[in-house]
């Protein structure tokens, strides 16, 4: 148990960060992190070292978060973003953001803006982005994790990036006014 405690101490921030990026709620992210560590302990015998322990634990937290997000989705109406995606995609007509909206920002400020922008994406778009950018997963892996086609992953990722760029530009414009 002492060795497991050490592993928790070493990877707890990474696991929490993944949960927080996906859930956008501190309390829920903490609870899910705890659940992930308990599951990790229970399934420890299944870990054979094909990937690093941190990566293995990250898969557990991603699956827990996806389950939780699906539950949330069932409980509420479809988000506007999801409707956009299904109705043909406004991202195709969005004007290209030519000026880097994050240029010149301090680290803390940049983080805050991205945080704000990520919070405005639907869970499908945010998760696609998180898995691709932070977990460095390929399209195929994301599709498998999220239970959708590669085409859907590409479409969600594209929308998420374009929307994020537009939101960041908007925040920059509001600041400069």
């Amino acid at each position: 148990m002492a060795a497991f405690e050490e592993l928790v101490a070493r990877h707890r921030d990474r696991i929490y960060a993944r949960a927080y990026s996906m859930m956008r709620n501190e309390e829920e992210a903490v609870d899910l992190s705890q659940e992930a560590w308990v599951k990790g302990w229970q399934r420890l015998a299944q870990f054979h070292g094909e990937s690093s322990f941190g990566t293995w634990m990250t898969r557990i937290i991603i699956n827990l978060c996806l389950d939780q997000l699906r539950k949330h989705k069932r409980q509420r109406a479809e988000s506007i973003e999801a409707m956009d995606e299904e109705s043909g995609g406004v991202e195709r007509q969005m004007p290209v953001v030519t000026v880097n909206p994050t240029a010149g920002l301090e680290r803390g400020e940049l983080r805050q803006r991205i945080d704000q922008a990520l919070g405005q994406l639907s869970y499908e778009h945010r998760t696609s982005l998180v898995l691709h950018e932070f977990e460095e997963m390929e399209y195929r892996e994301i599709a498998k994790t999220m239970g959708c086609s590669i085409g859907t992953v590409m479409s969600r990722l594209f929308y998420a990036r374009r929307k994020l760029a537009a939101l960041l530009a908007d925040l920059k414009n509001r600041d400069s006014v």
Partner: protein
């Protein structure tokens, strides 16, 4: 630029295009300003996200968080308490009580069911009793579920005896 081309541009950025397609896409970007600016936007968004999670920290101390995890692990690993051992008498009683109730209901039901061949009309049947006192007669109406017991008083035998003794009057 159509949607398919936009997604191809993204795949180029993500390194998801096969070599042949990738070099063709790179040439296309080099001569198409619209494609080049979209690729630049996608690239800069990706750059903004890099390192975003580096500062995210679990907002609970190591000891507190571990104590919660440990407690939950121990709770799940503690076997559920075994049910108290039930005595033989209790088991028999558990069986006998419902069995008795079922038996009572069955008997009551059988008593109410008219015998086979009953037409439903009011049929009174006289039942010969095994009593020594022949002054008692029992009638049962099956359709009405009624039983009538006829007691003659004084009993006919008794009345005869009294007459013989001459004490009745």
């Amino acid at each position: 630029m159509d949607y398919k081309a936009q997604l191809k541009l993204q795949a180029l950025l993500d390194g998801e295009l096969p070599d042949g397609e990738a070099s063709a896409a790179t040439k296309w970007v080099a001569r198409d300003r619209e494609a080049a600016s979209l690729l630049e936007e996608l690239r800069s968004t990706r750059g903004a996200l890099a390192g975003f999670e580096a500062d995210v920290r679990l907002p609970e101390s190591r000891e507190f968080f571990w104590s919660k995890v440990e407690r939950e692990i121990q709770r799940l690993e503690t076997p559920a308490p075994k049910p108290a051992r039930v005595s033989y008498f209790t088991l028999v009683r558990r069986f006998l009580v419902p069995a008795s109730a079922v038996a009572v209901v069955l008997i009551a039901g059988l008593m109410l069911i008219p015998p086979a061949g009953s037409t439903g009309r009011t049929v009174a049947a006289e039942i010969e009793t095994a009593l020594a006192d022949s002054g008692v007669f029992t009638y049962r109406d099956y359709s009405a579920g009624a039983t009538l017991v006829w007691l003659s008083y004084p009993a006919e035998d008794e009345a005869a005896e009294i007459d013989e003794m001459g004490t009745f009057d």
